[in-house]
């Protein structure tokens, strides 16, 4: 269970920083004109790169020390035995359902937001990034919570 908490916490932090870096770039970049467009990268991207490095080192360290079946290549799908394989399968199934409903919600919400009076290119872009980042965090949380619940449930 620890490996799933470790991986999903890391994934959620990654999404927070990625969302922040994307929004920062949108805010810092000048509006595109018909003849030119520019992207300004803020410090959020350096923060993201630093986090990737830290998280990767932590993953290697965890894999080496914990010995609970965690595998860097498999990440949250790391399993130690057949029971964990079942747990992972059921958690994945639940996560897929949540993600599909979440995506439908994001698409519909984006449509309504883009048609609203306050909408311009910048606010719509920020809105979509916030919605998609939130959906990813919800998806990671769903997998984590489902994994914990199924891990403690009856598989007979």
């Amino acid at each position: 269970m620890k490996k799933i908490i470790f991986e999903q916490t890391g994934n959620m932090i990654t999404i927070f920083i990625l969302g922040f870096a994307l929004i920062q770039s949108i805010v810092l970049s000048p509006q595109p004109t018909p003849s030119s467009s520019q992207i300004h990268f803020g410090y959020g991207w350096f923060l993201l790169a630093a986090w990737f490095l830290i998280f990767d080192v932590c993953k290697h360290f965890y894999q080496k020390c914990a010995k609970d079946g965690y595998n860097i290549n498999d990440g949250e799908f790391s399993v130690r035995d057949e029971r964990e394989q079942y747990v992972s399968y059921f958690a994945m199934k639940r996560t897929f359902q949540v993600m599909v409903y979440g995506l439908i919600f994001v698409i519909v919400a984006s449509l309504f937001f883009s048609l609203s009076l306050a909408a311009n290119v910048t606010t719509v872009s920020i809105f979509i990034i916030i919605m998609l980042s939130s959906l990813l965090v919800i998806t990671f949380s769903t997998y984590l919570i489902s994994w914990i619940i199924y891990e403690r449930s009856n598989f007979t």
Binding site: D68, E82, F155
Partner: protein, 70 residues
């Protein structure tokens, strides 16, 4: 129909801890706990591995409880 098991009883007779048994057959301790509690029915492969590790015939380790049959 339910499958009962004597894993805990036989393991204790052999003075094996759950952790040691888990390590011997390459599963997590939690899996041994789940099997002993009857919360998880192992695959045939894992059942054979358990039987081998506990030096017990498979039929002595797992029995079908037909009382639960509807």
């Amino acid at each position: 129909m339910k499958i009962d098991n004597n894993v805990q009883h036989i393991r204790k007779n052999l003075n094996l801890t759950q952790g040691t048994l888990a390590q011997n057959i390459g599963v997590s301790r939690r899996t041994i706990v789940s099997i002993e509690k009857g919360n998880y029915t192992p695959s045939l492969m894992l059942a054979f591995q358990l039987a081998q590790a506990l030096k017990t015939p498979l039929t002595d380790l797992f029995t079908i409880n037909e009382e639960d049959e509807i």
